[in-house]
Symmetry: C2
Subunit: 584 residues, 2 copies
């Protein structure tokens, strides 16, 4: 090795030793003839010192070092007079004996510090420099630790990691598939997997029993909503199990991760049915770090001549505790915020429970003090609280109220990133109606099994068929989801029929899986976690971008390597493809 130690390990125990370090110049300062240089590597920071006792050439060389120069330095470990007890190496410094510049550095385009002055775009272009900053590097170290602990946990439970193929087959359902032309099979394409779903099910048919894989998946879709075209899943599947087994094992995995990586012991995860989550939070991924559950008010407020309530399918409210002091202006701003097209509420009704005990609503014309007292009772409101109410069509008003609840949770400081609130959401609907294509789609995917008692509803009331499907939600973010799968050919065919596949289409696309079901398929089910998202939650970040070493931007571009890019005519000829647009 070029070095004897790293920049993070020398302490008072090494006093007097002659050591060699390698690293980057973090900063350098001259103080009355003495030059102090901080040298940095992945493990920490060590202070070098060149003073009057140092050879003059060496001192001059030290003074010439710029930020981010890569150096190799040999010296003697001395006790510092001016100790910095904040860092492990803060009690010592190195009296330089030899100094070698391994590589010079231009002045970096932004500060390589925990707080940098670089804008997002600049840092993306020089990602390799941004990765030098502690916060970003720490995210990737965290990610590594998490992956190691996941593998340890699953290996201990006899799970086998099996690599499934990346070059697979495009399906008509796969509108968001990336495709890959095959040179050896001209005119034909592979697709990149959106998930290894069918392969992991085949592994169950093969008897693998407990499979997992930490694996890249791909989706060619718009990248709003903090998504990436390539993302990483913790993909898992088990045979001969019930839903209960899966919930227990993967709750265990999540708890193991929190315990080993963050030192946090989580208690048993609560469970909630999808229908309840929608009713109480207007979301299938409620943020349960705070209560503020929806209060349904139809029985309380209808029939008093207020047409907005009287005509509404659903009237719901939340109790924003302690915000009765909100001014009219603040409430108006909130109303405007709710009216933005992304949310689309038509208006906000409120009722203040003033600290003096008076109730004051925005619809006093229709409701007297007694009636408002009933409201307050429904909300379990106390003096000082503010009741916020929306009315309209059920699905829409729940969505709007979900947004308002989250906003109020944020304003009230109830969404602390260091507080983790996991929740299992169970009994998802099997199908969901799609307005655009005017047909039902699989809410999870076509391989999810319906609850046996709901199968008769497939023909009569498909929207109300419940699935053996579950999501794991933490702090309002879905981090995993799965289901017990269909393992019977006839039921799988029926499912495809209800999804609008002809028998021929179903056979052409998924024949291999349905055939497999005829050769002894065991009952099975599984789950997949979004690993990027899980890492971002562990890192306390809102975006997944900084838990990924080389992420792409919102246009799916890597601005550092400038990709995607045009390819040579000759290469397209070899692949027997043409583009129908020209790229400058």
């Amino acid at each position: 090795m070029l070095r004897t130690h790293t920049c993070g390990e020398l302490t008072i125990n090494n006093l007097g030793e002659t050591i060699t370090l390698c690293g980057w110049v973090q900063k350098s300062r001259d103080l009355g003839g003495t030059t102090f240089i901080d040298v940095r590597d992945r493990y920490g920071l060590t202070q070098l010192v060149l003073n009057t006792e140092t050879n003059a050439d060496l001192r001059e060389a030290g003074r010439q070092l710029g930020r981010e120069f890569v150096i190799k330095v040999t010296g003697k470990v001395l006790e510092r007079s001016n100790k910095n007890l904040k860092i492990p190496t803060g009690e010592i410094e190195i009296a330089v004996i030899e100094l070698e510049v391994l590589n010079a550095a231009k002045i970096p385009p932004f500060l390589i510090e925990d707080e940098t002055d670089g804008g997002e775009e600049l840092r993306a272009k020089y990602r390799y420099l941004d990765l030098r900053r502690n916060p970003i590097r720490n995210n990737l170290v965290l990610r590594h630790k998490m992956a190691q602990e996941i593998r340890k946990y699953l290996d201990r439970l006899d799970f086998i990691e099996v690599e499934t193929p990346v070059l697979i087959k495009s399906t008509p359902e796969g509108a968001r598939d990336f495709v890959v032309p095959s040179r050896m099979n001209p005119g034909e394409f592979y697709a990149l997997p959106q998930s290894p779903q069918t392969f992991k099910q085949l592994l169950m048919v093969s008897g693998f029993d407990r499979y997992f894989q930490i694996v890249k998946c791909f989706r060619d879709e718009d990248l709003r909503a903090d998504r990436q075209p390539e993302f990483t899943q913790i993909d898992c599947e088990m045979a001969f199990i019930t839903q209960e087994d899966i919930l227990n094992i993967f709750e265990g995995m999540t708890r193991h991760l929190f315990s080993t990586v963050k030192g946090i012991e989580l208690s048993e995860f609560p469970r909630m049915k999808y229908a309840d989550a929608m009713r109480l939070y207007g979301s299938d991924k409620p943020d349960t770090r705070f209560e503020m559950k929806f209060v349904e008010l139809n029985d309380v407020v209808k029939g008093k001549g207020f047409s907005i309530f009287d005509n509404a399918e659903l009237i719901i409210g939340i109790n924003a505790k302690g915000t009765a002091s909100y001014t009219r202006k603040q409430i108006d701003e909130l109303t405007e915020w709710l009216k933005r097209p992304q949310i689309g509420a038509t208006g906000l009704i409120y009722c203040r429970y003033n600290t003096d005990g008076n109730l004051k609503s925005s619809v006093d014309k229709f409701y007297n003090e007694d009636e408002l007292t009933n409201w307050a009772a429904a909300f379990e409101a106390e003096p000082g609280d503010l009741m916020l109410i929306l009315a309209g069509e059920t699905d829409k008003v729940r969505k709007q109220m979900n947004e308002l609840r989250l906003e109020m949770g944020t304003r009230l400081g109830l969404r602390d990133k260091n507080n983790f609130s996991p929740l299992w959401v169970l009994d998802f609907p099997l199908l969901e109606w799609d307005e655009e294509t005017t047909r039902y789609h699989a809410m999870h995917h076509p391989f999810t099994s319906p609850k046996p008692e709901d199968i008769p509803l497939l023909d009569t009331d498909p929207g109300n068929v419940r699935a053996n499907a579950y999501d794991l939600v933490i702090n309002g973010t879905e981090i995993g989801g799965g289901s017990i799968r269909i393992h019977d050919r006839a039921l799988q065919s029926l499912m495809f029929k209800h999804l609008g596949f002809s028998q021929e289409e179903a056979q052409k696309q998924f024949g291999f899986l349905m055939d497999a079901f005829e050769y002894g398929a065991p009952p099975h089910g599984g789950i997949a976690f979004g690993f990027d998202r899980l890492c971002s939650i562990f890192a306390g970040l809102d975006s997944i971008r900084d838990v990924i070493a080389f992420p792409k931007n919102n246009s799916g571009r890597d601005v550092m390597i400038d990709s995607p890019s045009a390819i040579a005519e000759a290469q397209m000829n070899e692949l027997k493809i043409k583009t129908t647009v020209s790229v400058s």
Copy 2:
């Protein structure tokens, strides 16, 4: 869980317990009114018994079970009268109390046994059934264990696993890149990585110091030679190290794997220079399980009037010990084998050292007994040995002799799959001449550093510039290769120049890396192992196909899912591409 135990764990210690198993019917036989059923899962095989003490309906149900039916069975653990001590569960059997068919099975298209009757194509189509067979499943279990042990070893040494992108940039060097059209960036393409080379170097520039990744890579090339379009690499890189450090750490990793996974303790790996490997074995990946080194004979045989030798650039031989008894016919067959176009030798000269002490060559006309005695001395031959000699142009004759040596090694039983002979090959040439393009190519890749003392030769004698490059060879197979990289912009530019890049091209394609070198790049180097190949060596297989769960065939097709395949017109329109061939 549906079961209380697996089919591999019940022993005499469980006698009298009531247990539940799930699994596949391996076989079933009736013996005088008693039905024995072997039920199988991933963990083993357990015998069920239904006899006169069993309820009649249950006995009938048991008799109806076909091969590969999936069953759940509850019963009592009894001691067997007829014990099978070859399997862990062979001392017990289960008296069936309850039996449930979880799924029926059609008769499988081939036998699900260690030795099957299915042909390769049939087994590929029903890969999910082939994966049920012990030998194939064991390979994947082995692969899982190896990956776990690799991660443990590297994690312990502070390596961090970082995921690098799969959607990267195509380069003109990347004639074998798979490309992926981008929907969001019409007319532009990503490429799939042939290796994460540039990204791991950027991670070194970022200060990550010790990186690894077990990662899928892609190459769109002809699949002779047991290759796959997608393959897995153990990709590693380190900063602030010398070649010696890399050799030690990854020799350590290999030794750790052999020790923990196979229980084999390997001693220190020998090292050999590329030039010596070529001279002694005619190959940069010699199989060192056996000696049979080349003997150079120019000094011994030239000048005796035998024109084939006199005109040859190089005359080399091997001593095929103990084969003096080969008949003329056997030698003729060997000669014909050598003349096949794949090898292309023009003739084989031999000299028998008969057990009676006589020397008899195929060129007795030119060489007398005394001269043949000199030959024997050069070969260190003893009575009973056969000397086999080829002559011709150096590179060609070495290649031919390499083939002959390996063939003789096989014939003499010197290539035992359970004997492992690792070897480091060092000091590879930096460049190799390509007849087709009439220019030099990088032998490893353009980022490999030349030996500093050879840099001046770049202009005068490029073919003789040695690189800081090394391969790890086991049993004649290259399982890993790497180099100390260039970390200096000027040297990297010079390298691109010698590889025929214009300055503009180099900047366009690799500008991001060369720019990175200007912002403080540390000295670094690394290695990548072919994980599929390593697994196949551990599994004692000639092909990598059966250490991969879902491999592709020689045409790059997955015949199980029928991929690649044509995609819909609409999808191509969205991607702004067209194919220039039509697919039926």
